[in-house]
Symmetry: C2
Subunit: 388 residues, 2 copies
């Protein structure tokens, strides 16, 4: 391989000086210039490098530690062998499967390289700089990151009893003339949820021209009556989902959204058409078809949540009901929550505590495998008595 | 798995009517509203579905039909097993390897889910709506797609003798106060290239505050003297590269760019941090380390280009010199080029003809494997005499 540039950073001083006189820094866009340096999440690998602690129990990113369906894994491994070819930019097979499964049309579906990618696309499609957006205070940081990244203005509504305040969100969306109302249902980071009836009522009360963006990353874990009937013909609703949670494919980067056909066409005007990798498309298709594996995951996660609740009760801590694959332990105060997270971290247990009040007294713990759960129980039993 | 929404499209007529009265279409952003419905490339799978012809020889997307390094493939297959976990959002290992290889710092590197993703990121970072951008007429469509998708204004300069017209591009960038001057070097779709000296001169003559965006997707195939020394400290230059071409990982979706540290920090303010899939990161790292495989690919591609040139000469066609993994056959007229492409397509051979003059008389053919090349030769020998 040709690499004559390997030592190219060793420019002579003469050249360096010559260059200095010729440099005129290009300006960043107005939006980028105005943004603070921020990242939505510091990845656990970076936290390990920064603190020198290694993770033994990775329970802080709501991944599915049960792994993916063996059939999905096999499909992905097979697709690696063909990964010298670009993947299908239209995700024809996967959209066909999703359409059949949900009784909708393929032109009501968009596939993205993860739900985060789709949140960015949705924000970009609807928002002009300066436009208002309503979300919960302490809601999903990556959504906020995209709103700010496209010059939008965030308006937030505090959680009420650790649930999204639907009335408050509606009121705020009306008051601020919001273009988007974002709701994660079931919710991250609390695990709480609203039933189909409440969501229907929220939809009916939306301000004119306001988009209801439902982030349904955790919908597969929710009670049946949480799932509001799909109606992609409604241009005021987008429902975004992912293969990262129940399908255990977080590292594969693939998600999807249901939307009105006209909205899907608008996405096509700007989306990164060849962005979804080939193996992820194959894996997602196989995973959708492996319903037995999905049922097993649902059962395991339900069992794990019960175990966490029992564990917490034994330690005199309460947990929030959860319709997701994680449980929020209410540590009573932000100080105790932070101390618990830090102490666990030093023992190799990765969990998260949200930053915004009142959520900052919650310790969010993903449901791990049975072995991980028993190890977590052992460590938490040691840690809790040491918390002041 | 819970899917009560499978029949949810069957809303009652009563509900449909109720809903109609409540719908207020949210508006798309001003930029999206103004955009025509367009996609940068119709994928070959979609062309197959539309025409009913199956591809036997896939030589139209400049993929590397030699496949990826067996070591990269193994690393990717192994990483699939861990793909229930998010990949490292900082791509620490891969950036470290690239930094070592090129003698630069990791804070001068950004990793994206393919070069297309990075082109979008770069445009978004530097461009305000209405800002001017200079590129060649008939240059890479996906770059143009991103410029228009962020509201930029494209100014184009025709190719001269099937090469990018550096003087013309410079003049246009000056005249239009362009914020970005885009140059693919080596070039797609012509395969032509400029040497390091010409690029250095272009850099020195850039308008103040104009960014030189070098798309170096094909740089690994270029003669040594094409490779302009790397200097990521220069804020006016970004060099974008990919694992899709010489590394044979198009379907894995991973690319990188070298830029000034301040620019990398700006990217971090808006990029999709968890967008690069886990398997691609592992594969890219392994591929970089497999230099023997890289050398083999270079040799094979060089041999294939010679074969194509000989084939063309035998058929009375000329080919353009190429510093890439494809060869542009000059069919003499746009009509002959189009006819050749269509006739080949009906025989299962996927090639491309650029849309813009004077490039629209070129038939662009990726270098295939020896078997593919001999099959292509056989078919082209049949097709050429039938062209009017």
């Amino acid at each position: 391989m040709k690499r004559p540039n390997m030592s190219s950073n060793k420019l002579s001083h003469h050249t360096e000086r010559q260059k200095e006189s010729q440099i005129n820094h290009p300006s960043f866009s107005s939006i980028v210039k105005a943004l603070p340096a921020t990242v939505p999440f510091v990845p656990p690998e970076e936290m390990e490098r920064q603190t020198g602690h290694s993770i033994r129990l990775r329970l802080g990113a709501n991944e599915s530690n049960f792994g993916m369906s063996p059939k999905a894994r096999q499909a992905m491994e097979k697709a690696v062998g063909k990964s010298y070819l670009y993947g299908d930019a239209t995700s024809y097979d996967l959209k066909g499967e999703l359409a059949t499964l949900h009784g909708i049309r393929t032109d009501q579906i968009v596939i993205g390289s993860g739900l985060d990618d789709l949140l960015g696309l949705i924000v970009r499609t609807f928002l002009n700089p300066g436009d208002a957006v309503t979300t919960s205070l302490g809601g999903y940081p990556t959504f906020n990151f995209h709103v700010q990244g496209y010059g939008g203005v965030l308006h937030t509504v505090p959680y009420q009893d650790f649930r999204n305040d639907l009335q408050g969100l509606l009121q705020k969306a009306h008051d601020t003339h919001s273009r988007i109302l974002y709701l994660a249902n079931p919710d991250n980071p609390t695990g709480s949820w609203w039933g189909a009836e409440a969501i229907g009522e929220l939809r009916r009360s939306l301000p004119k021209g306001c988009l209801l963006l439902l982030d349904e990353a955790y919908i597969d874990f929710a009670p049946l009556d949480t799932i509001w009937p799909l109606d992609p013909s409604d241009p005021q609703v987008i429902r975004a989902r992912t293969f990262s949670k129940s399908h255990g494919m977080a590292g594969a980067r693939i998600g999807y959204a249901f939307a009105n056909q006209e909205t899907i066409q608008a996405f096509d005007k700007i989306r990164n058409h060849f962005g979804v990798n080939r193996a992820a498309q194959a894996g997602a298709l196989a995973s959708l078809q492996d319903t037995a594996f999905q049922r097993m995951i649902m059962k395991e996660v339900a069992k794990g949540k019960e175990e966490y609740a029992t564990l917490a009760a034994e330690l005199g801590i309460s947990t929030l009901p959860s319709a997701t694959n994680f449980v929020a332990f209410d540590m009573g105060t932000p100080k105790r929550a932070k101390l618990a997270m830090d102490t666990l971290w030093k023992q190799g247990v990765f969990t998260r505590v949200p930053g915004a009040p009142p959520l900052n007294r919650l310790l969010r713990v993903s449901v791990g495998t049975p072995v991980e759960r028993s190890e977590f129980a052992r460590i938490l039993q040691e840690v809790v008595p040491t918390l002041s």
